[in-house]
Each structure stands twice: as C-alpha cells, then as structure tokens.
Amino acid sequence: MTRRLLVNPILCTGHGVCAELVPELIEMDPWGYPLVSRAELPAELAAHARRAITSCPELALLIDDRPGR
C-alpha cells in the first residue's frame, strides 16, 4: 500500500502553492500546472505534504493510498 500525493486535475487551476511547499515532489509544468511525483511519500515530507494539502486554494491536492497503479 503506497501513499503518494495526487492532484485532482479537474479541481486544479494552477495556483502553484503546492509546488512552493513541497518542491521535492511537485514541480510546475510550462503551463502552470503541477507535475506530482508518483513516488511514495517519504515520512519526513509528510508534514509538508499535509500543509500543502490544506493550503491548496481549490482543495485539489490529496493523498492517494490505493494500491499502486
């Protein structure tokens, strides 16, 4: 069961707050939308990830803990 960050692409409007708060896992693409790493969320970044999730103005960021795709 891997836990990773996931963005809901329908809700996301490219604010970019997440990329500022978790730059280790999220980068911005040329159009202003987040490129979220599919790697597992490491424990040391969990607090930052939570902050990014609550800071997203569209609530588009979430933690996905379904069995890996």
Binding site: T13, H15, G16
Partner: protein, 184 residues
C-alpha cells in the same frame, strides 16, 4: 461588577478598528490569492497563509470588540444585537450593519474551517459573500464610530477602502477574461 467607564469604551473602539484593519488586509490578500499574484518575496503560500491567519486574527479581535460592547453596561446592547440586526434602538442602522457583517464573517470562517466536509458549491457561494462582508463592516465602522470625525481614523478607513477596491477590480477583470476556461 458594574462595568462601564471609558476603559471599555476605548477597548471596543480599538478592537473594532484593529479588526477592520485585519479584515481589510485579509480580504485584499484573498483577492490576491485568486488573481495568483506573487513576487520574489511573496510566494503564493505566503499570500494564502496570511489571508487565512489574518482572518482568524480579525475574528479574535471581532470577538473582543463584541464582548467589550456587550458587557459594557453604559449602553444596552445585548448579545442578541451582535447577531440579529436592527433589534436594538441604539444606532439601529449602524449597529445592525455590524451584526450583518459579523454574521457574514462567522459564516465565512466556519465554512472555511469545515471546507473539506461541506459541499464545494456552498463554500464558494459563502466566500463570494465575503465581498459583501467587508464594505458592510466598513460602513458600520464609519456610521457608528464616534471616531469617524477624527482625521486619522477617516484616512485609515479611506486607505482600507482603496486597497480592497483596487484588488477587487483586478480580480473582476481576471474573472471576465475570455481565455482560460480553467480560471474559476
């Protein structure tokens, strides 16, 4: 304890002014968040973080403002007048506006704190009502405040007004842009 006298009166006016200042700042930052404004020293997480924290701080000062008003026995303003507008005879209109503004502010805060649990449409509608909250609060301050005659308070109020109006114009112009289906 019979509370009265100038101390509480000053406290109420001070708390009210500070709350309004903080509300102005928060509203402006909220508009800036929506317009994705950011600079080298102003990352977006700062804009939205301050928007939320200043709003909570404004709420704290609002509660102080309301409490000091209610416990002040000099005026007969009761707790119900803080929530239900136009009940009290004392400065009926302006006090009523204050009640409306604080009701809206409470709705804004509660829906935002519970955002993950409520329908997204509800949050969005209440948040748009924030544009109503701030001018009503400003009118309450101007109309009821005995400081309105004082120059520095008046200038401050005008300053607040200017900031939010400018930010709102920016926000509206972005919302009306034809391109970008994604900007909501």
């Amino acid at each position: 304890m019979s509370l009265g006298g100038p101390g509480l009166w000053y406290a109420t006016r001070a708390a009210g002014i500070v709350s309004l200042l903080l509300l102005t700042a928060s509203t402006t930052l909220g508009v800036l968040t929506a317009s994705r404004a950011s600079g080298p020293r102003w990352p977006r997480f700062l804009v939205i973080g301050l928007h939320r924290n200043l709003a909570l701080l404004a709420m704290a000062f609002l509660l102080l403002h309301v409490t000091t008003t209610v416990i002040d026995t000099y005026t007969s303003i009761g707790i119900q007048d803080a929530v239900v507008p136009f009940l009290s005879g004392y400065h009926r209109l302006w006090l009523g506006l204050g009640a409306i503004a604080s009701d809206l502010f409470v709705a804004l805060t509660v829906t935002s704190l519970l955002r993950q649990r409520i329908r997204p449409g509800l949050w969005r509608t209440v948040h748009w009502a924030g544009y109503l909250c701030w001018p009503v609060a400003l009118a309450h301050g101007l109309g009821i405040g005995t400081d309105a005659g004082t120059t520095w308070v008046f200038d401050l109020t005008v300053g607040c007004g200017g900031a939010v109006v400018v930010a709102a114009i920016v926000r509206l112009s972005l919302a009306l842009r034809p391109a970008g289906r994604v900007l909501r």
